[in-house]
């Protein structure tokens, strides 16, 4: 895989992610779609395993680093970055896609759509679990100083994962169109039920 291409596409999608989330937000608890998850799925569908996991790790790290948590009370502890919820979620998602990809029609946007929904759901469960565990285990000065609403957050994330199917279709179609630029080594000639690389 050509890393510069993946990084540039990742940069564009990461920059647009919060804007798209706010613009397309629906309902209460508010569900919003992800733009980065389809890229994780796309890379995991075509790249070798280790490359796909590294890409998922880097993208998850960037999502975590751009999100400040806690600090939701004036004069309280300042907000902070928690690295982990999206890194672990994205790597788990990449592992899932890499595992099932021999059974998938890889060059079909509908595949990316369906897998984006599943992976976003997995990320939702992983991220909410990690943040919930932190809330339960770390108290006092060790805590994050926020007020994590685990159930409403999980509900919003799971609804968002359904919504991510829509962005998965659009982003998937664009990424498939850009597919030659990525120069995946094992992208050609893979048929359904062939052996994994």
């Amino acid at each position: 895989m050509r890393w510069p291409v993946a990084l540039i596409v990742g940069w564009v999608l990461l920059a647009l992610e919060p804007v798209a989330r706010e613009a397309l937000r629906l309902g209460n608890p508010s569900a919003s779609p992800s733009l980065v998850v389809p890229l994780v799925v796309f890379v995991a569908l075509f790249a070798p395993g280790v490359t796909a996991y590294w890409a998922a790790l880097i993208l998850g790290f960037l999502v975590d680093v751009t999100t400040l948590r806690g600090g939701l009370s004036t004069g309280g502890v300042p907000p902070m970055v928690i690295v982990g919820p999206h890194v672990i979620g994205f790597v788990a998602g990449a592992f899932l896609v890499h595992t099932v990809r021999p059974m998938m029609m890889k060059k079909n946007p509908l595949t990316i759509m369906a897998l984006s929904m599943v992976v976003a759901g997995l990320v939702a469960v992983v991220a909410s679990s990690i943040l919930g565990m932190r809330e339960l285990l770390l108290v006092g000065s060790w805590g994050d100083g926020g007020e994590y609403r685990a159930l409403s957050d999980l509900a919003a994330r799971l609804l968002g994962s359904l919504y991510t199917a829509g962005t998965g279709l659009v982003i998937g179609a664009i990424l498939l169109w850009l597919h030659p630029l990525f120069s995946f080594h094992d992208s050609g000639g893979r048929r359904a039920f062939s052996r994994r690389s």
Binding site: W11, L14, A15, L16, E17, P18, V19, R21, E22, A23, R25, N28, P29, S30, S32, V36, V50, Y53, L57, F61, L62, V63, D64, V65, T66, T67, L68, R69, G71, L72, S73, T74, G75, G76, V77, P78, P79, M80, V81, I82, G84, P85, H86, V87, I88, V91, I130, L137, L138, W142, G143, D144, G145, G146, E147, R149, S152, D153, A156, R157
Partner: protein
């Protein structure tokens, strides 16, 4: 030299450990937020402005608006579509100037600098709840500075400052225990009863609170009636809001209902006039006299 697979395994293990470490041991990671945000801002900020332009400024629907006012609003919107770009720019500057002067008029005894800055947006994961704007330490912004939309509508306050950006806690995303004191305006000039507002939840974009029971001072007239459409302004000098924030507009009363516990008292739901999520530009109110330098777009006002 470890192989790519070994490095990956070690990296994942490191992340798992980091994810569960207590706060004091991972605060250093927060230093990565500023540079990453600045790296994404060149694309994020124009995209946000484009979305805001496409969807409109996000004014709350006014249930009590008269038909004449609605007609006027429609005419204004039609007119706005027809005017040319240059004329629109002139109008924007005029509105900006008016808002700036109105902002200073709120607290004429206080000298504040108002700096207009673009909004970068919420983080990639919106559950974070903090809004990042493109002004930081080098522009003179510091923690606890008050942030407003168009000079008079309270958005929140700065809770973290980086060199080139800062994070703002919107009033609608405060934690459950946090409250903001306000006063219901019975008319443009008449202050009414006080109200202590809290967030309903982190994403609803509204505040709720119990209004103080305020009988007529003469004892003859019935207690003041709170109705939807009334404006609530910040009046919270007792707590952590600085003087420069007092009397900024918190929002408009959207709904009133009797308190379940105390039927004589009213519970109000207040929605900010401008949707915080759709703000593309905000004003940071920096108390003057702290020696902090002003950045581009800084204006000074208040007491000369």
């Amino acid at each position: 030299m470890p192989s790519a697979r070994t490095s990956l395994t070690l990296a994942i293990l490191l992340v798992v450990v980091l994810a569960l470490l207590p706060r004091p041991l991972i605060t250093w990671l927060t230093h990565l937020h500023g540079p990453t945000t600045v790296l994404l801002a060149p694309l994020q900020q124009p995209a946000r402005s484009l979305v805001v332009w496409f969807r409109g400024p996000g004014l709350a629907v006014r249930a009590d608006e008269s038909p004449e006012m609605q007609v006027l609003r429609e005419q204004r919107d039609q007119y706005a579509l027809e005017i040319k770009q240059l004329r629109q720019q002139v109008e924007d500057f005029r509105v900006l100037t008016r808002d700036l002067s109105r902002g200073f008029d709120l607290n004429p005894s206080l000298a504040v600098k108002q700096m207009t800055v673009p909004v970068i947006g919420f983080g990639a994961d919106t559950s974070g709840g903090l809004l990042t704007v493109r002004a930081g330490r080098r522009d003179g912004v510091s923690v606890s500075n008050v942030v407003a939309i168009r000079g008079v509508h309270l958005l929140g306050r700065v809770v973290r400052v980086d060199e080139r950006s800062c994070s703002v806690l919107p009033i609608t995303r405060m934690s459950k225990g946090e409250a903001v004191g306000g006063v219901v305006m019975l008319s443009d000039e008449t202050l009414g009863p006080r109200v202590l507002l809290k967030t309903v939840d982190g994403t609803s974009g509204v505040l709720r609170g119990l209004v103080e029971y305020l009988a007529d001072p003469s004892g003859v007239a019935p207690p003041v009636t709170i109705t939807p459409g009334m404006i609530v302004r910040l009046q919270d000098a007792d707590t952590r809001w600085p003087q420069s924030a007092q009397m900024l507009i918190i929002g408009q009363i959207e709904k009133t209902e009797p308190s379940p516990d105390m039927p004589l008292r009213t519970v109000v739901t207040v929605r900010p006039v401008h949707e915080i999520e759709r703000a593309s530009e905000v004003m940071i109110r920096i108390p003057d006299g702290d020696g902090s330098p002003g950045g581009p777009g800084t204006t000074t006002g208040g007491k000369p």
